[in-house]
């Protein structure tokens, strides 16, 4: 048996018994022996690969929305409830309607743009506070998100899950881009992504506004 014949048969014999001819070739041929050893090494190493990564929080958010939408969940007495993650529908009534939403969207965009430019350009000296973004109070953003979802729920309940999921998506985009810009304020590409992420959130607010009939 030569190497070509042995290697052609290899897929079927690498994990199972070999006949005498195959065994003899393996013992006598260093090249094929090395090959088999390498392939076994790869297979063994693969067994040691542990599950290493968690999915992003949006996955659970999507599952939760779908479970509620499909009516698959109902709370029992004394049981664990869903822990609020991300958006919580605020009991606060939507008083001034579209104008407040529009202000929120513009504020968000304005803060984003102001921070964007405060990071400086390639040619300018870093500002003393470079790397420290303008803090957008988490509570005010969450409340605005909640208001948007309330508005969508009132007018177009069938679209609520879509808006909720996409709010998570665009918030994730903003978080990712902001983190990268914090690490490297001179990364123009990352800053561009951040601005686009804010624009997309503004778009979502605007379209939700239209759905709310304001």
């Amino acid at each position: 048996m030569n190497c070509a014949e042995f290697q052609k048969a290899l897929p079927g014999i690498i994990e199972s018994d070999r006949n005498a001819e195959e065994e003899a070739h393996l013992k006598s041929c260093a090249v094929c022996s090395d090959l088999v050893q390498d392939l076994r090494c790869i297979a063994e190493s693969a067994k040691l690969l542990l599950p290493m990564q968690d999915p992003s929080p949006r996955v659970w958010a999507g599952i939760r929305s779908a479970l509620e939408r499909e009516g698959l969940v109902r709370p029992l007495a004394g049981t664990v409830r869903f822990r609020p993650q991300g958006v919580v529908l605020s009991p606060r009534r939507w008083v001034t309607g579209g104008s407040l939403l529009a202000v929120a969207a513009l504020l968000l965009l304005a803060i984003g743009i102001t921070w964007f430019f405060n990071q400086g350009t390639r040619d300018s000296q870093p500002v003393a506070t470079a790397g420290v973004p303008v803090a957008i109070p988490a509570s005010s953003v969450d409340e605005d998100d909640a208001q948007v979802l309330s508005a969508v729920q009132r007018r177009s309940p069938a679209l609520l899950a879509t808006y909720r999921e996409n709010l998570d998506t665009v918030n994730a985009y903003i978080r990712d881009a902001r983190r990268t810009v914090e690490q490297d304020p001179y990364d123009m590409g990352a800053r561009d992504h951040l601005l686009r992420a804010y624009n997309q959130k503004a778009l979502l607010y605007e379209m939700a506004l239209a759905r709310s009939g304001e």
């Binding site: 190493s45 693969a46 067994k47 479970l67 049981t79 664990v80």
Partner: protein, 208 residues
């Protein structure tokens, strides 16, 4: 299929709720919201890692993870405990991924079509000098990257067999192919990985 890896003891009780997996399953069958979350926390990492390794794409893997858990929750009432819950969930997740890959284009996972240039299909032509470059431990990161670089059809088979521990007869049944075909594709996947890992080592050596 081999038992789930990781810290099983820790996985059995979720701090804060005190629910065991078995209790969570029973409650989830009755629609208890918190129990769904317990089951998700226990198994999300394994399911997501499987989806990610099989697709090589984080967005797709997240979507498929979501779909796998939703299918689980819809069908949880039919779980009778004939197999381990994790085994049942794992098989469900694999089927979700395979269905998605088929929807994207059967050729991508077809085991009949050759994904490689013709010379890679036959036996190695170079029977010259010895080339033992993969002895010792293979770096996990390099292996993960190499797996990600595999053509989709090879990647699926390799992940199912070598990483997740499915047997060829199980893979053949899931993918609708023959056992011989499954073995052949696995061999090609390993050969391709060998080439990728060797190239990676050579590149690193050249940089020194």
């Amino acid at each position: 299929m081999r038992p789930e890896k990781g810290d099983l003891a820790q996985a059995r009780k979720l701090a804060g709720t005190g629910l065991s997996e078995a209790e969570a399953i029973d409650r989830a069958k009755q629609g208890d919201a918190g129990s769904f979350e317990v089951l998700y926390s226990l198994h999300k990492r394994r399911v997501y890692s499987l989806c990610l390794r099989m697709t090589g794409n984080t967005t797709e893997a997240e979507d498929l993870t979501q779909e796998a858990f939703l299918q689980l929750y819809r069908k949880i009432g039919t779980f009778r405990g004939e197999s381990a819950f994790s085994t049942w969930l794992h098989r469900l997740a694999v089927n979700v991924v395979l269905m998605q890959l088929r929807k994207k284009g059967l050729n991508e996972v077809s085991l009949e079509a050759s994904m490689d240039p013709p010379q890679e299909d036959g036996p190695k032509k170079d029977f010259g000098a010895r080339d033992r470059v993969l002895t010792g431990a293979i770096d996990r990161v390099n292996l993960e990257r190499a797996i990600e670089s595999l053509p989709p059809g090879y990647r699926v088979i390799f992940v199912l067999h070598d990483v997740e521990g499915y047997e060829h007869n199980e893979i053949a049944e899931m993918m609708g192919c023959s056992i011989g075909n499954s073995k052949s594709q696995l061999h090609k996947a390993r050969m391709k990985l060998r080439d990728l890992l060797r190239a990676n080592r050579a590149e690193k050596a050249a940089r020194r």
